[in-house]
């Protein structure tokens, strides 16, 4: 057996070049996984550090207990602080307040305009830790802690608005505009991008409307008092509705929020990493399948001289194991780079703390296990196939027996059907998030694998269909042009960027890093140009030959037949690309559908001319709506408010607006009842809710409801509405009635229609003027509102597609890999072609065209499958969010064209290798 392992190692050494790209694929796939863990662990370290530091001397904390539905939460009286401090077991007690709404404190200019609209979230609270000896979480860049009428601001905020200690800044506060003197500039590395505005306790209490109240009280035990003794001592004076936590509970609670966010970020990254890893599985499988078929004679000879099938199998699996171990180890290092890249990206787009690089034992273990298992699993299929090679067949250099087409097709169909079944079950089964995601994941994997198996059937026909002169010429021309142009840009950027930095900052570690990055960019850029320019030249030549009938036409045919010759290989390569592109397509189609659904909602469901809402998800002040109503030129307004209501045992959403006056603004599509002003005790119910109730709710039925203040009422169904796209709630009542139960709830948004003949521009300008008192409030007309929503969807699409780019990078290496291996396999044939008169250019063109065909095949598969996924998802998503499938033709076109860029670039290395082959040696190759 050891002899076989020696053979494996020799095999690896002999085929080092052939395994190199597999190694790259594994280390990229594993790198993204370990990068996700590194980011997660690094963030956790920072936040745990902060939580620990800020609570280092805190042994107990008193705070309002969690409020259940129907209960009223209460703030703690400030007097409690003194009472606590008076206890002998208490060393210190310190109250603090915070403001729950994000972005309450936005810096304003002289005119009262926001100085940083759409900036990072701004958090405000009283500066805790004023006690002696407390560990400071905040460090002071300059100045002192805030006193009365003073504020300490975040260093980034200070930078942006150009303010420092002693300057006066204007803030928008819950109680209006107010001037503050900057006492100091603070720095907090765990801010996760948020900015802080800190006041002393009395100032904060006044600003937050909490005079005489505190949110929580931090308590340190007196010397010699244990935490248990302290908690026992303070228990009697804790008021109802409040609770006291010990140190460990504090840490747990404080880190819970961070942990949740970190987990969301980490899991999101991990999900995309797993997609990339899944893609690399295909590539590893493909590589080993090719390597086995290239070594048939060697394996047959081994079998002939007495190696057992098991030994052959073991030697190939062992080979995979070695590559897996090395690739995974390199993957952990890649992960450090990936983590740094993601961190840099997030820091640029706003909000990511400075972190160390934490490579946990778990990261290493998971990366190794994932990488090794993935590699070995991928190699098992080819290993079994190799072990079935008969000695004689091998010596005749026959390809290893494949499963018959029928068997393969049957397995492929079953796998695809299972996958789609899991997907649909997940989408329509009404599961919770975890099983839902599990089903979707398993479904997608099965579908991808099934389609990959079935795609073998299409590889030949599709290659023949797309491998046409005009298609190849135009794609080659396009891909080449894009690469040439962008390549020049990337090269110049790689030279210019670091040069400027060097001139500006001189030599330092960061400029040296930039220079290294620049060198990499120049290499990439030059490669792009070098692959792009010949592609353009040869595609032009192909176009000319197509017109006048020249030799290049023949090359298209050769390329097409090369792609079709080994359908398994072409299919496996194309499906690696398909996975990434299918997901990009799914996301893009969903995004487009979301946008067009939103547009149609604006078109039919809500026909207001002006929309007034907060840019920061804060409520819109009630007064604003009232002022708008009185504005000249405004016909009607509808103010929308939301809260919860308990019907039976279920807590559901309740919405309200002016039902009497808004028939021109809203179209809720009543299927029963009539649109009129609803009186007290009357509600409209959403059709789905009415139908789902037992027994189904009908016009005139009554329900028993409880409101969140604890009061109860019997409500009569006055109508059933069908269009829930704006309301997005189970029940709808009139605003006046709603106000009685929820007097403090403010507007979510206000819609207004204009009087006939009113000048839209003037009215909008006046409305904006009124709203300017509230810097976070935006006034938009129909078109602007639509554009804003679309731009939000677009940035989300950009983020998701950017992360899916990881999978595309892996797939790209897979394409390069397959074509390099195919070129090596065809060495003799290439030598022959060169001998009988094929020029280097013609040879490179043939290989480029083959890569184009493979990429195009992958793109077509991806687009079709992605559209199918999106269609299923749209069917499952409630109509009020996405009503119908809308295909982003432009994006689809871009994906198709982008595949041509990938193809041209992927062909660069293999084409060069082929062109550099020595004709004689190539012919002598067996």
């Amino acid at each position: 057996m050891s002899q076989m392992f020696k053979l494996s190692l020799r095999g690896i050494r002999a085929h080092l070049g052939r395994l190199a790209l597999t190694f790259v694929a594994i280390s990229l796939g594993v790198g993204f996984v370990s990068g996700s863990f590194i980011i997660k662990d690094s963030l956790t370290e920072v936040f745990d550090g902060i939580v620990n530091a800020s609570n280092a001397d805190v042994d107990a904390r008193v705070q309002a207990a969690d409020v259940e539905f129907g209960e009223v939460g209460s703030d703690l009286p400030e007097s409690l602080v003194a009472e606590l401090e008076a206890l002998p077991e208490v060393g210190f007690a310190e109250g603090s307040v915070g403001y729950a709404q994000v972005n309450a404190f936005v810096p304003l200019d002289e005119q009262g305009e926001q100085r940083i609209p759409n900036g990072p979230p701004i958090l405000s609270f009283s500066w805790s830790g004023t006690r002696d000896g407390a560990t400071e979480v905040f460090t002071m860049d300059e100045g002192t802690k805030p006193g009365p009428g003073q504020v300490a601001i975040d260093y980034r905020q200070a930078e942006v608005i150009g303010a420092g200690a002693g300057d006066v800044v204007i803030f928008n506060t819950p109680t209006g505009q107010q001037n503050f003197e900057v006492s100091g500039v603070i720095r907090f590395e765990g801010s996760a991008g948020a900015w802080f505005v800190l006041f002393d306790l009395p100032t904060a209490q006044a600003l937050y409307d909490k005079v005489g109240l505190v949110d929580s009280i931090s308590i340190g035990a007196a010397t010699g008092t244990t935490e248990v003794e302290l908690l026992e001592a303070i228990a009697p004076i804790i008021p109802d509705g409040a609770e006291a936590l010990g140190n460990s509970a504090i840490l747990e609670e404080d880190s819970a929020d961070f942990t949740q966010i970190i987990n969301i970020i980490g899991n999101l990254l991990l999900a995309f990493a797993l997609v990339a890893l899944f893609v690399s599985l295909f590539i590893i499988y493909n590589t080993f399948a090719i390597l086995v078929s290239q070594r048939i004679q060697e394996i047959g000879m081994l079998r002939a001289i007495g190696a057992t099938a098991g030994q052959v199998r073991a030697s190939i699996v062992f080979e995979a194991l070695v590559v897996g171990v090395l690739g995974s180890a390199a993957g952990i290092l890649t992960g450090v780079g990936v983590a740094a890249a993601i961190k840099g990206l997030f820091q640029r787009v706003g909000g990511f703390p400075e972190t160390g690089t934490v490579i946990g034992v778990r990261t290493i273990a998971v990366s190794l296990i994932v990488g090794i298992v993935a590699t070995v699993i991928s190699a098992i299929g080819p290993a079994f196939r190799a072990s079935r090679i008969s000695p004689i067949a091998a010596m005749r250099n026959e390809p290893p027996s494949e499963h018959s087409t029928r068997v393969r097709t049957a397995i492929g169909v079953v796998t695809t059907v299972l996958g789609l079944a899991a997907l649909f079950l997940g989408l329509f089964g009404g599961f919770d998030t975890a099983p839902l995601l599990g089903l979707l994941g398993v479904g997608a994997i099965f579908t991808f694998v099934g389609v990959a198996m079935l795609s073998v059937l299409f590889a030949g026909p599709v290659a023949n269909a797309v491998g046409r002169g005009p298609i190849m010429a135009s794609l080659g021309l396009f891909g080449g042009l894009v690469l040439a142009v962008f390549g020049v840009g990337v090269t110049l950027g790689g030279i210019g960027g670091p040069s400027l930095l060097l001139i500006r900052d001189g030599i330092s570690s960061s400029t040296l890093g930039a220079v290294a990055g620049g060198v990499a960019l120049v290499l990439i850029g030059v490669t792009m140009v070098r692959s792009g320019i010949p592609a353009v030249a040869r595609s032009v030549r192909l176009i000319i030959d197509l017109l006048r009938g020249g030799p290049e036409i023949k090359l298209v045919r050769l390329a097409r037949q090369n792609a079709a010759r080994s359908p398994q290989r072409t299919a496996a390569t194309a499906t690696a690309l398909m996975i990434g592109l299918a997901l990009v397509t799914t996301v893009s189609v969903l995004g487009q559908s979301l946008k067009s659904s939103f547009a149609s909602t604006l078109d039919t469901a809500i026909t207001a001319d002006l929309f007034v809402f907060s840019s920061t998800q804060q409520p819109t002040p009630v007064e604003l709506g009232e002022q708008l109503r009185d504005l000249d030129g405004i016909d009607q307004i509808a103010r929308f408010r939301f809260d919860e209501i308990k019907v039976g045992d279920e807590i559901v959403d309740l919405s309200a607006y002016e039902t009497a006056t808004t028939d021109q603004i809203m179209n809720i599509d009543l299927t029963e009842g009539e649109l009129r002003q609803l009186g007290a005790g009357e509600v409209y119910v959403f059709r789905d809710v009415a139908e789902a109730s037992v027994p189904p709710l009908a016009l005139g039925d009554t329900i028993d409801a409880q409101f969140s203040d604890g009061s109860e009422a019997t409500l009569t169904i006055a109508g059933i509405y069908d269009d829930n796209s704006v309301i997005d709630a189970s029940y709808l009542m009139d605003l006046d009635v709603f106000q009685q139960y929820y007097p403090d709830v403010e507007d979510v948004f206000v819609g207004a229609t204009l009087e006939d003949g009113a000048n839209a521009k003037t009215v909008k300008a006046e409305a904006k003027e009124i709203a300017s008192a509230y810097p976070q409030i935006e006034v938009k007309d129909n078109q602007e509102f639509l554009e804003q929503a679309e731009s939000q969807v677009n940035s989300m699409l950009a983020l998701i597609n950017g992360l899916l780019g990881l999978a595309l990078i892996v797939a790209f290496f897979g394409i390069v890999n397959t074509i390099v291996l195919s070129v090596l396999e065809r060495t003799r044939e290439i030598g022959l072609m060169r001998a009988i008169g094929m020029t280097r250019d013609q040879l490179m063109t043939t290989i480029r065209l083959e890569a184009l065909i493979v990429c195009l095949f992958g793109a077509v598969l991806g687009l079709v499958l992605g559209a199918l996924f999106a269609w299923a998802a749209v069917s499952a998503i409630p109509d009020e969010v996405i009503s119908s499938v809308s295909i982003p033709w432009l994006t689809m076109g871009i994906i198709l064209m982008a595949s041509s860029v990938l193809g041209v670039l992927a062909a660069f290395l293999p084409a060069r290798r082929a062109a550099q082959l020595d004709v004689l040696e190539a012919i002598a190759t067996v």
Binding site: D545, G549, G550, P551, E552, K554, L558, Q561, N562, A564, R565, R828, E829, L832, M833, R834, A835, I836, G837, M838, T839, R840, D841, Q842, V919, L920, I923
Partner: protein, 278 residues
């Protein structure tokens, strides 16, 4: 080396060089008018090929000067390592000499770049290799016309039809190589070499992989291509029976031409080989 006077003088003499075998008798055996324009299809002058350097240097060819007459079938024989394949490869522009020069017609090829060499091979030279001569994805006809297709030349379809008919492939033209027997595959290779009417065809053991019957068939085709079409063929072989199909046999040993024979028979070649080592 190029600038040395000794070599210059050799170059001067080669301009008027007439090889000894170019006697009137063999000339009259050439039936085609095609060759009369250029009696020498390819030649080498002081062709040397050295692998490695210093003590490790292996001299594959030592200043070989030879000419291949147009319209003749020449065999190159010699033991393994004698340089016969190297000579052919250098003549055919597949490999480069260390020193000296080879000509296809009047074209010196050592100064040609890769592109020019490729064109030369495509337009003026035909090849028949020992095995794996064909592109598996192309059918027989496509393989035959491939050099023409690569050159973007339509080709003389009558000529191609007659070539296909001559090698007996008319009913196999649309078959892929894997659907053809080894003999049939080599016939396709011969047809491909003939299709573009090259100035010279080089064969590297073209029958080495075939049984004797199929091999005899191929050699007959090659012979008749010379006799009836006036084609020039140079073939490397180690088989005296194959060599007997040719007009002339060159014997190589240690990188140099040590002997030659005209109108060989299998027996006379056997005899010669047996005494070569003496």
């Amino acid at each position: 080396m190029a600038g040395e006077p000794a070599e210059l003088s050799v170059l001067a003499t080669t301009l008027t060089y007439r090889p000894p075998w170019e006697d009137p008798v063999t000339m009259t055996n050439s039936p085609s008018a095609k060759i009369s324009t250029s009696p020498i299809a390819a030649r080498s002058e002081l062709a040397s090929k050295v692998y490695g350097e210093g003590d490790m240097a292996v001299h594959a060819l030592r200043e070989v000067t030879v000419g291949f007459e147009a319209g003749k079938f020449t065999s190159i024989m010699g033991p393994s390592g004698s340089g016969k394949s190297t000579l052919m490869q250098c003549m055919a522009g597949l490999d480069r000499l260390s020193s000296g020069e080879t000509y296809i017609g009047d074209i010196p090829i050592s100064s040609l770049n890769d592109k020019q060499l490729t064109r030369l091979r495509r337009d003026k030279i035909g090849f028949i290799f020992q095995a794996f001569n064909l592109i598996p994805t192309l059918n027989a006809l496509e393989n035959i016309t491939l050099p023409l297709d690569l050159a973007g030349i339509k080709g003389d379809s009558e000529w191609i039809d007659s070539v296909i008919a001559t090698v007996g492939l008319a009913d196999r033209a649309t078959h892929r190589p894997n659907e053809l027997s080894g003999g049939q595959q080599q016939r396709v290779a011969v047809a491909r070499a003939l299709a573009s009417q090259p100035d010279i065809i080089f064969g590297d053991e073209p029958t080495g992989n075939l049984d004797s019957k199929a091999g005899a068939e191929i050699l007959s085709f090659m012979r008749s291509a010379v006799n009836e079409l006036g084609q020039t063929i140079v073939m490397v072989t180690h088989d005296p029976v194959s060599a007997a199909y040719s007009d002339r046999v060159l014997f190589l040993a240690d990188g140099a031409i040590v002997d030659e024979m005209f109108n060989p028979t299998a027996d006379s070649v056997y005899d010669k080989i047996r005494h070569l080592g003496d």
